[in-house]
Structure formats: structure tokens, C-alpha cells
Symmetry: C2
Subunit: 356 residues, 2 copies
């Protein structure tokens, strides 16, 4: 169905008709000039926002709209968890070009709602409008936390242990895989077109590349999970990180933010970087340095945090958390110690192991 | 300066380096995964968001970036005031194509900051990214109010008086004026180009159309003001509206929202529609029905609200507020009474006085 058949209000009604709000703090969701929240007494509110543009942040050639919706919400929830807070509400604004039909936007919304349901988050409002080209998605997420529980980027202290959850570089490898298949597919289509081979073009239109054995990499790229489970595990273990942020731009870049804002240095160890087997295999196939991928890959949405040295045992006992180094005085700089004992300055992007 | 010279973090630093937060409820603004607010005890939080796309919501041929920034903020603050709440914070997300330079974005930000300063609003965060084409602006505004002060769209009761602030249709007339001059200018440029008249083209490049006597219409279109002053005046007069919303899509459309959500009808009087002299003069020049412009023009950002009949004297005593009709039972429908006593059903758009 064409979106113009419904109009703005019709589309909003269709997308939101069965949306109910579940959080006690949500007094009123969609349907007035503003949504209304009743913040719990004594808690602080945290707010984050992200703007995703087609062609810049996502490529609809290979990203299904349902996955895109899921990811768009998760990347915002990831920022809420990175404050050690609990997400409660989101607003969703969409700008939609004429190439999309109503069913497309329903798919996108289905993905967003799935992500919200996973973490008990209410969709409380937004804006739906048109775009001359492509799709724009703007999400604002709101959460809450006890003031004493909130973790900033600026609290790391020398000797604190540097920890990351999960593993690194897989989302980036997933992107490389998808981009490679896209190029191959485009070349095959072009070849069939030039040769006038209509039958081959038909076949290619419905072709699905064989990703067997690589499913994990695709999932990490297309359907990332915000690590609210890590926040719960830390709380249950009585561990309050001294600093924390989520890894969206890559470990190096995020660690440098923590060091800058905490006015510290750091030392991390290449051999400690947590890697999945599929990440390593794919990096080798692509002739890339897997550590570079882990350091600068981005989009992992894992948590990077620091804890006092005294909590070494407590944090080591937790599943899926890896100690990769420690915080130093600022004058020591930000260093990566390679497997062979070499020391390199961390760079925000494109760490080059050949550069001294 | 090219934006690529600074990069995302450099641009954000440059735009936000001298931004300070002033509200007691703002604990932390830009610089971490989330902003942090400390909601005042017992108050509710209200949240609204808007996504503005170049080519759909604004035309940079005639909209200066500073004005665009001002307006982008004001339209959000208008939604906060429409809840009878006080705005406190905004987040600002921008997607910027390569045609913009750093100074352009500084102009846009200057306008946004001017609007924030006017109403004591803090810029607490956002996202700055790139766009393949044009500019996208997504703003989320947060405000607060005592629960008992919040005014919804759904509280209007039969016999309530229907009031609007300011005057209607001027912003729409301003848009018509700008669009007309754009067409004239484009034709002159095309003529000069075809005639190879370089001198004329130079002159046209710097040409400023003569808008004298029409300044008010332009101001209403380019630099709208959210009516926080009306909220203050109502509060000081002890008047709590029974329903309220801001007029962004046009009086008819908004009044129908109030009637639908309050399950009422309404009667409004054409002769009561508040008009500025310039709006009437411009409508006549363009051979348009000025009442149609007032009913459906949009972008006035005035407040539409209802008050109990008993407050007739109190509301009549206030400056710049006009009683235009009253609320009826739902079965009476939504009616406009024309100057000659005719009765027409209100339509959400394009009211046609020739249709019975």
C-alpha cells in the first residue's frame, strides 16, 4: 500500500494503534503534544539520541528493515546501559521517501517493537514525515538510575582494571562480508545485463549468498544486542564500575575517550583482546590483522568499563567479561602491548602495527 | 572551512565548546553516553520531538540558517508550552551533506542557541553525522510541570470557550510571498542565462527582493515565537485551560483533534478569526480567501485552548487572546459559521467556502 493513501495521521495511527505502555513511569504515550512521564522519586533521568541516515549508516541492499529497526533501538539502549541506567522510554522519528510502502514501515516498526519488548521499553512518541531521498531514523531514549549508581566516562583511576564484555571485531567482519557479497552480486548482475541474459538476471534477483559458518558475524552486524545483561550481572556481583561507555566506534577510540575524560593513560594487551573464532577466520581470509579489527572495528555495542584493582577476583568470576589491561597515570600515554612485547601508541582509528 | 577538516568530534567540540547548562535540573549535558537530569520532586516530565528535512520542511534558497535553527527549536518549545509545561532541555541531532561548511553549521547553531536562551533551555546532547543529500534536523525537547497543571487535548467540555492567541494565517502568507519571489527570481536568472547576460546574472546573484511593508509576514514564517508568554499570562490570571494544543498544521486541523480527543463538537465564527492587516492585504493581492488562510495556513505556532464559560471575563481581560467560538456536544459536529450566517463543516485541510 502506498503511504500517500494513508497520509501522515493515517500512517501513524496504523503503526501505533496497538502500542500500549507498560512502565509505571509512563503516564501518557503517543497522542498529545507531548508524552508525559512521572520520574520515580530520587532517581535521575538519562537521555541519549541517535540519528541514522540511509546510505551513511545503513545500506538497504542487504539490511532487512526489521533488523534495521531492531538495531536502531538497540544502539540507543546501549548508551543507556553504558550509564549503568535502566531504559524506560523511546521516541521514534522517521523521514520516509516515496520508494517505501506502508508494509516496509510496518517491518521497520516490528523490529523496533521487538527491541523495546526485550528490555521493557515504551514507545511514547515521535514524528513521521517525508524525505526527498531515503530513510532517516531519529531515536531518543530515556532511562533512569539512582544518582549514586550512574557511571560516567570520567571516573577511571590509575591501577583500575580495564574490562570489556563479549568479543570485539565481529560486527565489522560481518560488514566486510556483506559488502563483499554485494560487490560480487553487482558484478554478476552487470555481466548478465550486458550479455542480455534475462534468465540469469531473474535467478540473481532472488539469489541468496551462502553465509553458512558465518552466521555469527552477520548477526553481530545486523542484530546487535545492548548488554543490559552485563549491567545486571555487575549489580548482582556488587561491582560498580569507576567509568564506562559502550563500544560503538571501536575499542581504541572509546578507550581514548575514557582516558581523556578521566585524565589518565592506559595499557592494554593485544593477547587479551577477546575474539570470536569466526572473526579470526574471516580476518585471515580477508588478509586483515584481526587485532586491528578488534581495536577499530566498531559497532560491537559491547561495554567497556573500569573497576578498582581490588575487584579483580569479583570481576574475573563473571562470565563473558574480559580484563584487557589497566589504567595508568596520564603521562604514561595510551599504549597497546603487542603479542611480541612491542609497545604502540593507541590511535583513535586505523591502528597500524607497522608504525612505531 | 570544510567539515571534513574537523571530523565529527572536532565539529561537535567547536559547536559545543562554550555551551554551559543553567537549569538546576540539568546535572550533566554534552560529553558522556547520556545527559543526566534530576527531575524536581513531584513534577512530571513532558517530552516531544520533531524531525525536519531539507526540501520538505524548509527551502534553503530563502531560509537563512540562523533563522532555521531558531525555528527548529521554537516549534519544539511550542509543543512543551501546549502542555502548559516549562521547557528545560533539548537534544539536537544534525545530518549534514558535503555542501555545508563549518560556518554554515555555526550559523544554524547560533539560531538554536538564541531560541534556547530566550526560554532558559539547556542544550544537553545530540548527534552530529553526515547525510548523502541535504540537511536533517532532529530535536527532542524535555519540560516539566506539576501534574495538576498539565493540559491535554482531551479535556474540552460542551459550553467551553474556544480561544486562540495572536493571529492566524500570517506565517502561511509569508511562505506564499517567499515562494512567489523565488519563482520570479528563478525566471530572471534563467532569462539572463539564456541571453548570455553575465552582468545581469551577477546582479541577480546578490539581489534582495523588496519586502517592505511585508516584514511581519516574513517574520512569522521565518522566525516564529513559541507562546510561553501566554502560558505565563494564563497562570497569573488563575486560568487553567481545559484543553490545549499548539497550531502547527492549521486551526481547523488542530480544533478537530481537540474535538475528536475530547469527544465533542464545536462552533467557531469566521468573523472572530484573528487576522493581521498584512495577512488580509496579502491574501487580497494573491486573490485568496483570508479565512481559508487563517483556518488552514499552518505554522502559526499560536496556542489553541478551551476554558470554562465561567472564565469568560477573566480570559477576555487578557491581551492577545481571542475567543472564536465554543465547544458543543459531539452530535452537533464541527461547524464554522461564516460572516453571512452560513454554516459549514470544518475540514482538516483546504476548507472550501463554495462547498455546502
Amino acid at each position: 500500500m502506498e503511504i500517500s493513501e494513508l497520509g501522515e495521521f493515517g500512517l501513524i495511527e496504523r503503526l501505533t494503534k496497538d502500542i500500549t505502555t507498560k512502565n509505571a513511569t509512563t503516564i501518557r504515550g503517543i497522542g498529545d503534544d507531548c508524552a508525559i512521564l512521572a520520574p520515580a522519586e530520587g532517581l535521575h533521568t538519562v537521555v541519549t539520541t541517535d540519528l541514522l541516515m540511509e546510505g551513511v549508516h545503513f545500506d538497504l541492499t542487504y539490511v532487512p528493515l526489521r533488523h534495521l529497526g531492531y538495531k536502531a533501538v538497540m544502539v540507543n539502549l546501549s548508551d543507556i546501559f553504558a550509564m549503568n541506567a535502566q531504559p524506560g522510554q523511546i521516541t521514534v522519528s522517521l523521514a520516509i521517501s516515496s520508494k517505501f510502502c506502508v508494509e516496509d514501515i510496518e517491518e521497520l516498526y516490528a523490529g523496533m517493537r521487538m527491541a523495546c519488548e526485550k528490555w521493557g521499553v515504551d514507545i511514547i512518541g515521535g514524528d513521521t514525515t517525508s524525505s526527498l531521498t531515503g530513510l532517516a531514523i531519529s531515536i531518543t531514549a530515556i532511562g533512569e538510575a539512582r544518582p549514586e549508581d550512574i557511571v560516567l566516562r570520567s571516573g577511571a583511576k590509575p591501577t583500575d582494571l580495564i574490562c570489556v564484555s563479549g568479543n570485539l571485531g565481529a560486527a565489522y567482519m560481518g560488514l566486510q562480508l556483506l559488502e563483499r557479497e554485494k560487490v560480487i552480486w553487482s558484478e554478476q548482475v552487470e555481466e548478465a545485463r550486458l550479455g542480455g541474459n534475462k534468465e540469469q538476471m531473474e535467478l540473481l534477483r532472488d539469489a541468496q549468498p551462502d553465509f553458512s559458518g558465518r552466521e555469527y558475524l552477520l548477526e553481530r552486524q545486523l542484530k546487535p544486542e545492548a548488554r543490559g545483561d552485563i549491567i545486571v550481572a555487575l549489580r548482582e556481583a556488587g561491582i560498580l564500575p569507576t567509568s564506562m561507555m559502550d563500544i560503538s566506534d571501536g575499542l581504541s577510540s572509546e578507550l581514548m575517550h575514557i582516558c581523556k575524560q578521566s585524565q589518565t593513560g592506559c595499557r592494554i594487551y593485544e593477547e587479551r583482546l577477546p575474539l570470536d573464532y569466526q572473526t579470526a577466520a574471516m580476518a585471515e581470509e580477508l588478509n586483515m590483522n584481526v587485532s586491528t579489527c578488534a581495536l577499530n572495528g566498531g559497532e560491537d555495542y559491547e561495554l567497556l568499563f573500569t573497576v578498582p584493582l581490588a575487584q579483580n577476583d569479583a570481576v574475573s568470576a563473571l562470565e563473558d567479561i574480559h580484563i584487557i589491561g589497566y589504567i595508568t597515570d596520564a603521562d604514561k600515554g595510551q599504549a597497546l602491548i603487542t603479542r611480541d612485547g612491542g609497545e604502540f601508541a593507541l590511535k583513535a582509528q586505523g591502528w597500524n602495527p607497522l608504525e612505531k
